[in-house]
């Protein structure tokens, strides 16, 4: 289906990271404004209007594209903030807007026909009917796929739709269908859809005890570590819980996604673009991951096997443990 070279889509939380990602070989960089209109609304992160315009110039000068994430759901009575963000993205000369909310998609489709629309993973569109609906209503050109589909399902989906697909290959792994998960707001009052954050740092505590460290989120125990054990960030769905007569990492082990070994499979499944998660990550991390994936994608595009990306990326993944996630059917 795709004879074209796969596009490597890389994260940038700051202008410096954007430049680093471009120089490391990113085909596209995605970023967001410094406010609640994007799903990585963290302090010290993201772009002003001028920084975005400058970033777009830099990327275009180097043959790369910029995709602007305006991918949270607009708040009641404040929809104008999201529309304004879309206007600013369009005026910056960016190549695409990534959105999930009907209100934002509709605004862009009606007012900024020249800019490409990508459907955010937050819209959780995973069937030909859903994707077809967004294509018919708003003219989306690409859909970012939920991280819960197998390779076989992605292949079947690509056969049934005529918009591009983008698949996550590295970084955080949401085990829940994104854009429809309220676990974080249940515990903390803040969530991806309402605030652009999940398991927010201000609600986290690391409590030292005689036998080790207990991590908590909003008072709920998420995991416990013995003395000397590396302590992980208490992301709610990666916690250890009791259910039935079992104590386990019920939802997902504290692992991160690495589908570096599946690039050829994703290409065969008809995927157009490969996405690296991590707009909250530093410049050094992004550079190294992008370089490794550039090499891996180029190897696959030349018809070779995937290079040993695990070795290239040793030490760069959260908790050092990795999984190919839902791309392997046994995951579910």
């Amino acid at each position: 289906m795709t004879t074209k070279r796969m596009e490597l889509v890389c994260p940038a939380g700051t202008p410096a990271t954007l430049r680093a990602a471009v120089q490391a070989g990113a085909d596209s960089i995605y970023c967001g404004f410094r406010d609640e209109t994007n799903a990585r609304n963290f302090p010290g992160l993201n772009f002003s209007r001028d920084e975005l315009a400058e970033g777009v110039r830099f990327a275009h000068d180097h043959g790369s594209k910029v995709l602007v994430a305006i991918n949270t759901f607009a708040r009641v009575d404040d929809v104008h903030i999201w529309k304004k963000a879309a206007d600013m993205a369009a005026e910056s000369g960016a190549d695409a807007i990534i959105a999930a909310d009907f209100a934002v998609l509709d605004h862009v489709a009606r007012n900024h026909g020249q800019i490409r629309l990508h459907l955010s993973v937050q819209a959780a569109a995973a069937t030909p009917e859903a994707i077809g609906f967004y294509a018919a209503q708003f003219g989306i050109r690409r859909v970012v796929l939920p991280r819960v589909l197998s390779l076989q399902e992605i292949a079947a989906l690509n056969r049934a739709i005529d918009v591009e697909t983008e698949a996550f290959v590295f970084g955080g792994l949401c085990v829940m269908i994104e854009g429809r998960c309220y676990l974080s707001s249940y515990a903390t009052g803040k969530s991806p859809n309402l605030n652009g954050v999940c398991s927010p740092p201000e609600m986290v505590s690391y409590d030292e005890g005689p036998s080790g460290t207990t991590t908590r989120l909003s008072g709920f125990t998420i995991d416990r570590y013995g003395r000397g054990e590396p302590v992980g960030y208490p992301t709610l769905c990666k916690g250890k819980f009791k259910a039935g007569d079992k104590t386990s990492h019920l939802f997902e082990d504290p692992v991160s996604l690495n589908a570096g070994g599946m690039i050829a499979g994703l290409k065969a499944a008809g995927v157009t673009a490969l996405k690296i998660e991590g707009r909250q990550r530093g410049k050094g991390y992004v550079s190294e991951v992008v370089r490794a994936f550039r090499k891996a994608v180029d190897a696959v595009e030349k018809g070779g096997e995937s290079v040993d990306i695990d070795r290239l990326l040793a030490g760069q993944s959260e908790g050092a443990r990795q999984t190919a996630g839902a791309y392997e059917k046994k995951w579910r």
Binding site: R75, F102, T127, G132, Y182, S218, T221, G244, E252
Partner: protein, 299 residues
């Protein structure tokens, strides 16, 4: 006062056909509820079990004077699951859309949007209204005040708030019942059937926290939002959704009916609910713009 209507939401759990028949027979005969949702929402693998039971259940409910709404799957994946949505969307009855997959086949005819559809603002609500949305039940994390603000700007639709039951918090491609039992989703053995209210998930310090129901994660605690009728009226919220648990749902309906008619104070309604055989303690944080597990003052 009687303008506040009650809705019985779809059963989220894997109940046997016999249990479903018994449950809806009582609802049809005894519950002071005008609108009743039927159908499998959480897992398409369960449909071959419950599908044969629905025609008799629908007939019984309609004979009992209930308005029946056909609920559709929240996370369709297989061809069969997708076809089920298209088929249900062709029905003359009202349909509940829980995934955008249902919109193409229902646009232009009236529908309900369920709490699995991301409707967070008046512009999105208007977009859906123009396609045919008549009742909108926003995601559970949405506050009462925010639903009210949206409702006042969208008088064309009725707004419904998730008032009672374990809160539906997340869906996954992965089945947690299967995972707990060392199985995979594709050969799950339907172990979710053993937990008709969901399986409790506690923290390592034994705090009650969540519950799993196959691919779904719910709150361990039970939402019990008990607003005074004038608070509902002032926000333009016209419907309260009660989500089935194994407790006495007829009694739950009677309590909410008295509350909505102004015949019972919110505190008394909450007390009456707390006396039922519930799978968790009562919470109402979301409705008051707090973390969902919080217990707050009356609205």
């Amino acid at each position: 006062m009687s303008e506040i209507a009650l809705t019985l939401g779809p059963v989220f759990f894997h109940w046997s056909p016999d249990r479903l028949l018994d449950f809806y027979r009582r609802i049809a005969d005894e519950a002071p509820i005008g609108r009743v949702h039927v159908g499998e929402v959480v897992c398409g693998k369960r449909m071959p079990f419950s599908d044969p039971a629905w025609p008799a259940i629908i007939e019984r409910l309609e004979r009992g004077g209930k308005e029946v709404v056909l609920s559709t799957l929240a996370a369709p994946a297989t061809v069969r699951e997708r076809r089920s949505i298209v088929d249900l969307c062709g029905d003359e009855r009202l349909v509940e859309i829980n995934d955008v997959s249902g919109l193409p086949s229902r646009s232009g005819r009236p529908f309900v949007t369920g709490p699995f559809l991301s409707v967070y603002n008046e512009a999105s609500a208007k977009f859906l209204i123009q396609l045919g949305a008549r009742t909108i039940c926003p995601p559970v994390e949405f506050s009462f005040a925010a639903i009210g603000a949206m409702s006042l700007k969208c008088p064309e639709a009725l707004f419904e708030i998730f008032a009672f039951g374990r809160l539906p918090l997340a869906l996954s491609g992965r089945c947690y019942h299967a995972r707990i039992h060392g199985l995979h989703k594709d050969s799950c053995q339907f172990t979710c059937e053993r937990d008709p209210d969901g399986l409790s998930v506690d923290t390592l310090d034994d705090q009650q926290f969540l519950a799993v129901n196959g691919v779904q994660t719910l709150s361990n605690q039970v939402q019990a939002f008990c607003p005074a009728p004038d608070a509902l009226a002032s926000k333009g919220v016209k419907r309260l959704r009660l989500s089935p648990q194994t407790c006495d749902m007829v009694e739950v309906a009677r309590i909410y009916r008295r509350l909505a008619d102004g015949r019972e104070e919110p505190e008394d309604a909450r007390f009456a609910l707390s006396c039922l055989d519930l799978p968790g303690t009562l919470v109402d944080g979301y409705a008051n713009a707090r973390p969902g597990w919080h217990v707050t003052a009356p609205a």
